[in-house]
């Protein structure tokens, strides 16, 4: 009975949404066809928002990678929220898993010797590669979130190879806090210097150079460290207590 209702509902939603999307062209769009309206100055402008990003993005933010320019600069406030969401998830998981800390310790077997040695050798390289990804967020595809995830995967490898491995909670927390504070303080400095939060107050430098795009690399390094430590914390909490 429940299945039939669910199926009918699903089909209905499919039809409603599909009809809505039939009217939306796929790929056959010209981004400069749209015009936007600025609610503060009450003026209509000639280009659309994405077109503006693509044409003037490099000038406005100094970043070669326009997606990064959008993520960290134009819509940096969203990214701050996003960082907060991940922080919340880590906090929530930590809070939920707290009860199991006093639980009976789980016995775990040693892993394969091949895996142990390989993970020891690879750990440093993976961390380095994660750092490479988040440092070059404004130049190449990538950025703080993927880079942080790569770093967390290095720790995940250690957890796989050494089932008894524990990351130091205190260190993780401190890294997480400091990285988050860096982001907020960068925003507040922008507020102090120019009167708008998250303003890109550092010099842009020459695009395509590493030291360019103002605060974007700074924020991405902070995000990378934060994401890495948070995901590691989540994995650690979910593994529970082992011996």
């Amino acid at each position: 009975m429940k299945r039939i209702v669910a199926a009918i509902l699903a089909i209905l939603i499919f039809i409603v949404l599909a009809l809505a999307f039939v009217k939306i062209p796929f790929g056959n769009i010209n981004l400069s066809d749209y015009h936007y309206y600025n609610p503060i100055t009450d003026k209509q402008t000639s280009d659309s928002v994405p077109q503006h990003y693509l044409v003037d993005g490099k000038k406005d933010t100094g970043s070669t990678n326009i997606v990064t320019a959008v993520v960290v600069d134009y819509r940096g406030f969203d990214t701050l929220g996003e960082v907060t969401v991940l922080f919340l998830a880590a906090t929530g998981v930590g809070s939920i898993m707290y009860i199991f800390e006093k639980e009976k310790r789980r016995k775990v077997r040693r892993a394969n010797a091949v895996v142990e040695t390989a993970s020891q050798l690879l750990f440093g390289f993976i961390v380095l590669f994660g750092a490479y990804i988040f440092v070059h967020g404004h130049l190449t595809p990538g950025g703080g979130f993927p880079g942080g995830a790569v770093i967390a995967s290095a720790f995940l490898l250690l957890y796989l190879a050494y089932p008894r491995f524990h990351a130091e909670h205190k260190t993780l927390n401190v890294a997480e806090s400091l990285a988050g504070l860096t982001f907020v303080i960068a925003g507040l400095l922008g507020l102090l210097i120019s009167g708008s939060f998250l303003y890109n107050f550092l010099p842009f430098g020459v695009p395509t150079y590493l030291f360019s795009a103002g605060i974007i690399p700074v924020i991405y390094v902070a995000v990378g460290v934060k994401v890495g430590s948070e995901l590691t914390g989540i994995v650690d909490a979910m593994m529970g207590v082992r011996e």
């Binding site: 409603v16 949404l17 009809l19 809505a20 999307f21 009217k23 939306i24 981004l31 749209y34 015009h35 936007y36 309206y37 600025n38 609610p39 503060i40 100055t41 659309s48 928002v49 503006h52 990003y53 406005d60 134009y74 819509r75 940096g76 406030f77 969203d78 701050l80 929220g81 996003e82 907060t84 969401v85 922080f87 919340l88 998830a89 906090t91 929530g92 930590g94 809070s95 939920i96 707290y98 205190k170 927390n173 401190v174 997480e176 806090s177 988050g180 504070l181 907020v184 303080i185 925003g187 507040l188 922008g190 507020l191 120019s194 009167g195 708008s196 939060f197 998250l198 303003y199 890109n200």
Partner: protein, 474 residues
Amino acid sequence: MMVQPVLLIALPLFFAFLLPLISLWSKKVLKYVVMGVMAFNAILAFIVLIEALKAPIFDIIAGFQPPLGIVLMVGPLGAFIALVINVAAFVISLYSATVTKEPLLKYYMLSLLILMGATGMVLTGDLFNLFVFLEVTSIAAYGLASYNKDRKGFEGALKYVIMGSIGSSFVLIGIAIIYAQLRTLNMLDIATRLGEMDPYTKIVAFVSLFLGFGVEAEMFPLNAWVPETYDGAPHPVSAMFASMSAKSGIFALARVIFTIFAFSNYLWFVVIMGILTVFFGEIIAYVQKNIKRMLAYSSIGQMGMIIMGLGIGTVLSVQGAFFQMFSHAMGKALLFIAAGYMIYAAGTDRMDKMKGIGRNPLIGIPLLIGILSIMGMPPFIGFYGKFYILMGGFQQGYYAIIALFLAASIVEVAYYARFIKIAFEKSERKYPAPNIWVYAPLIIFAIIIVLFGIYPKPVMDILSHVAAFLAGGA
């Protein structure tokens, strides 16, 4: 000095990131830090409200003019709701001092962040940013809902997670539809260029957004999570849900209805959803025996009234809806705090085991004030909300809806009266006395309820800006 609204968001966030470092130094100061931050935030919100009354504030983030960048759009109404949320958060944070279950550090971080998310939802002027803050609020709420870490808590929180994720998927679908047609995310920009959208697509986008934000606003049909989540959460958290996350959700709904889709042809849909929600809540509340579940269902009913008030769409009824948000935030928070104490004192959550619990005047009087206000009795603040919604309904000629509304109100009066009778009955039983962290919030809320009930003019002055809000302003 000009206070920028973004500080209301940045400050709790800053301290949420700072708390782990503080806890390394001392764990005892955490709760005072949180109280201090929330009090300071409430003061900031008050200053922002005064500024916003002069002219709506546009706070540009990252220095890009909208719609290129994100902008915070703070009109008088938004600032008012933000103030309500911040005041409620501060008073509830006093009651949070009674939470002793570990890990307290996480509890305080989550409560700061739920405040940040709820404030952000109210202030932001960008559709996707609204979604991000919705997620901040709801993920903080998921964490808090399961904080008790017992079976009830997990079940309620899981239900909340499932409904909340469906809701956020719908919000994203709505955003995708709008963006695909207009290539912009700024609310006012969307509102101005809404005519470029295909009419059918526009309705689909509206319904998606409406249903999505309806989850947080406890709207029928995606509100099955409410009773279990409220029941399973720690007591201060239930109060937070009623007064913070639900209020920001309903304000987001108001934004979707009036600021983005400033069209009146489909408002009957909102009214019907509202009246369904009212009935769903009030009728089930009548048969509840568990006090927190009863309050939760009653909360659904009240939110339905607010949605109805928004849907009727006249200046009077929308004023009523906003007044109702204020009174519900204060009254329900008070009742949940009182319920928390009563469950603790009586050792059970069944109402029939709480005979004579209100005979301690320090509990009884605030409790009575809160219940009368929620029931809509003059001279408490609850009266104005319901009254204006009714008046608005008369103006528009929704007589059948008004009849249903009154019937639901009578049901509400009936079950609250039953509860009053139990609570003030003579009984031999002695209950343990509450401590200062319970008295203080109860009394503060009671004072607010009585004060603005007798002298509603300041609130009415703020609400006189509703006409501009309805016309699609900030």
